[in-house]
Point group: C2
Chain length 527, copies 2
């Protein structure tokens, strides 16, 4: 079933000679399939097809795009257990995770399909003419969101389904009306090819123009660089490291025509635990925090890598309880030997810094790509003075900072880089005493959580997955939830355009029956 070839539109092609193999991290051996990297000609062909397809696909009615997205979901499900097995063999995740993530991916596709048929996402806004206005008549103006053009998607390593080939970036771009060229993530190319085959099947069944979707293979930076620099590419979605995301952002910004890059990058997702919560529920929070750190072998974007508390007996007790909870949890497998190596290096670098001590570290025997979850601690002053201590270590790792007082806590928060999330653990009564802390944290994050853990990113309209740099390259957008579509669209106005030639979303009689803003009133009535 896995051919090892690129999808250039619906065609499986492999004119190249460079071979690449993925690794089964559980078994620590190569997987059986050989993948052929895309040639420069194949890359150009995929982009040219996407550009041609855009001219047709951008004008497709909402229902047709919705049918396409729903069909992708069906075709992914139709791949059955074989897809889950390939996913597990390329990620090291257990089957339950594969099923759960497939469910999330299906849900995302269907959510964007529903968004399309519901229609208010278009932000259709109409100001009708006032011919007798003085001193000048007012023209008729009608605005809606229109797609940007071909989008390149760089999938993540840690969500081989939900943030990869047909994940959130692809689903939102296809919903927007943009063709998508996926750079298959090199750690799960087999999974990527299978999911791509589902997209292609869905495209054929729904008469979607050739080139709306391509899936390309490449192990180095050449493929990604060629795509981002290509003049016909109009936007980029990326999920991964700060270095990777920044490199793409720089390339895109330096083009003769700069294009938007939405890169969801690093985050250590600070958690602040306040004194009354330590006093009353220390053990409960220790267990919850231990679970959050180790979820998915700590490989969630929202994994809490930093805990801030006020120095004292209660915090000491919490640290002991956390160590106890952490040691109860069996280590699990990381995504790839290189990710395990990065985890070890990052962890050891921080452990070697002055003033850092290890609170808990799994010491039993573990398989080669398994990660020993690790908790360190340091005092606030040392943390403030050494920027190395706030670097993300991707995996089950967290550092507890013991602040000497509220002022030091506030100073640390104000100096933090931008983050996806910030969490406050507190008794309800004490929270209002920490307005300055909450306010400072709000300014550094995209999502603020009360008495919970940051892992677990609900797919809904109110979710923000993004935040100040470097959590993402543009905090004005989210990568999760229906508003992720806004990354790939621009507002567009028609002035005095004949009603019958307007897109149906803007016509007087409102044939799509969508919610619009007409002369500043929100309504779904016709004009």
């Amino acid at each position: 079933m896995i051919t090892g070839k690129n999808y250039i539109g619906s065609q499986l092609k492999a004119a190249g000679t460079k071979i690449y193999k993925t690794i089964n991290p559980q078994l620590n051996i190569e997987n059986p399939w050989s993948f052929i990297e895309a040639t420069p000609e194949e890359i150009n062909e995929a982009v040219a097809l996407a550009n041609d397809a855009f001219k047709i696909y951008k004008n497709y009615p909402a229902q047709k795009k919705a049918d396409f997205l729903n069909a992708i979901a069906e075709e992914i499900l139709a791949l059955g257990d074989e897809l889950l097995e390939v996913y597990c063999s390329e990620s090291g995740y257990p089957k339950g995770r594969a099923e759960g993530e497939r469910g999330r991916t299906i849900f995302q596709l269907r959510t964007f399909a529903n968004m399309l048929t519901e229609g208010s996402w278009l932000e259709a806004t109409i100001d009708t003419s006032i011919p007798d206005r003085l001193p000048l008549p007012k023209d008729d103006l009608r605005k809606m969101l229109v797609p940007l053009g071909p989008v390149v998607v760089f999938g993540s390593s840690n969500f081989p389904f939900a943030f990869s080939t047909a994940g959130g970036d692809t689903a939102s771009a296809l919903a927007a009306g943009c063709p998508v060229i996926v750079k298959s993530h090199s750690m799960h190319i087999g999974t990527g090819e299978m999911v791509a085959s589902a997209v292609i099947k869905a495209a054929k069944k729904n008469n979607i123009p050739e080139g709306v979707f391509s899936n390309l293979i490449g192990s180095g930076v050449t493929l990604g660089t060629s795509l981002v620099k290509h003049p016909l590419v109009k936007a980029v979605g990326f999920t991964g490291s700060i270095n990777g995301g920044r490199a793409l952002f720089d390339l895109a910004s330096q083009r003769p025509e700069p294009i938007p890059v939405f890169a969801e990058m690093g985050s250590i997702n600070p958690v602040v635990i306040l004194p009354d919560a330590l006093e009353k529920n220390s053990k409960k929070w220790a267990a919850a925090y231990a679970g959050s750190i180790t979820l998915g072998t700590g490989q969630f974007c929202t994994n809490p890598g930093l805990l801030l508390g006020i120095k004292g007996e209660k915090l000491n007790q919490f640290i002991d309880q956390l160590a106890e909870e952490i040691e109860k949890i069996a280590p699990s497998c990381m995504l790839h030997p290189s990710i395990k190596a990065d985890f070890n290096n990052g962890k050891e670098k921080i452990q070697s810094q002055n003033g850092v001590s290890t609170v808990a570290e799994y010491k039993g025997e573990i398989a080669p790509n398994y990660a020993p979850q690790t908790i360190l601690t340091v005092d606030g002053k040392t943390f403030l003075e050494n920027p190395a201590l706030s670097h993300e270590v991707f995996g089950p790792f967290s550092i507890i900072v013991q602040c000497k007082n509220n002022e030091e806590l506030l100073t640390i928060i104000n100096k933090l880089d931008g983050q996806l999330t910030g969490t406050i653990i507190a008794e309800p009564m004490e929270l209002s005493n920490y307005n300055a802390v909450v306010d400072a944290l709000q300014n550094r994050v995209g999502r603020l959580i009360f008495n919970g853990v940051p892992t677990g990113v609900e797919v809904c309209a109110s979710m923000i997955h993004g935040g100040p740099y470097p959590a993402s390259s543009d905090s004005r957008f989210t990568a999760v939830g229906i508003h992720a579509v806004k990354r790939w669209v621009r507002p567009f106005s028609y002035q005095n355009w004949p009603d019958e030639l307007l897109p149906s979303a803007l016509q007087n009689k409102n044939p799509l029956n969508i919610t619009r803003t007409v002369n500043d009133i929100i309504t779904n009535k016709p004009i």
Copy 2:
């Protein structure tokens, strides 16, 4: 009344020694005032004040910000005729234009104030919890737009009121909750100081924190560069040339923490005139086009610099009629001797290209800074082969391209740079025969106009003033209309946050009575 000093917050300061003077282009002499350029210390002080002010101002209730904006409008009006006189002496525009533009500026400020009290702009979105959902409970999530932080505004030369000190960028940023630091446009620093004094008065009367607004003077690039590179600055608004906008975009993109730049830059605003319109209404359109080219001495962002038609008798007749209309119009004054010099150079460069002929050029005697409106023509093939012919010439200038057929017309449109506007002049019946032309033009512009002229940018929710690069640096935003506020905000989520500690826009009882999306339903009901 004009002190020549910088407003560092509410303080007039001038520790510097570099003096700058503005020019009266009508009289071609220096204006009487001496302006003192801001020192590096003053620049840093303004940014630090803005950063401190942000912490307070971002949490101000909507009504308080609305009152501030309305008060700015009142204080500008209170400056009376003296403000109009200074405006005219620094711009060369007549008094009628000064009054009209002041009216527009007042209207913009009041429109943003109304937006604040109406409240739906916040995009408040709520998904309530589902504690018994399986396999996992659903958390309560609530999202709204929050301000980015201090914004630097570079005003335009051509709208000393409406796109400068208290113009659209400043008004939208203040509405968003962002402090603003204006780099006063060097051609109208006196006008800028007077308007700044109005903003400062309004701020004092409304108890707005010190530093929410500063107004700095600088003639070279040092001031702008320092501001854009300052780590506490979080976004930039710019209206001006492609070179200027791109330089700021590059600086901002290369920062350790890149920040968004919304630059509204060059546009030649192509107008396509179709055969039946030439047949039936040639004379009418020639008069309208001549009026549009010369409006405000051709110094509108949406000035039509390019007219595309199909070669033939009818187009020849239109060209003759346009020449006749153009020659009827008395030349007017440009903004500055340097703008007049650029106009001459740009015009002469294009006139000197092979295959270009002059259709009309005002030949009478004119005052030093007055611009002789000029119309050139060239065939489609020559235009396609010579990129110099599509460069913007800022001023009353237009080139008519005679395409040999529809195919060549389409090729030219597809090769155009991004534009603010595209216009189609056609008889209603013929438009549907030109779907490919309309579709191609739609893809290159931010606003598509039917049977009108592109000059005249209505301030309303359905207006887009922006477009694909280089019309603007980010086509996903507009510079005109209430949605201009979206440039300065980011979406933000609260998860399981106690109701009484949420911003009022997100509280259950909806105390602001604003329109929100609650569990995917648009409503202003409480929860």
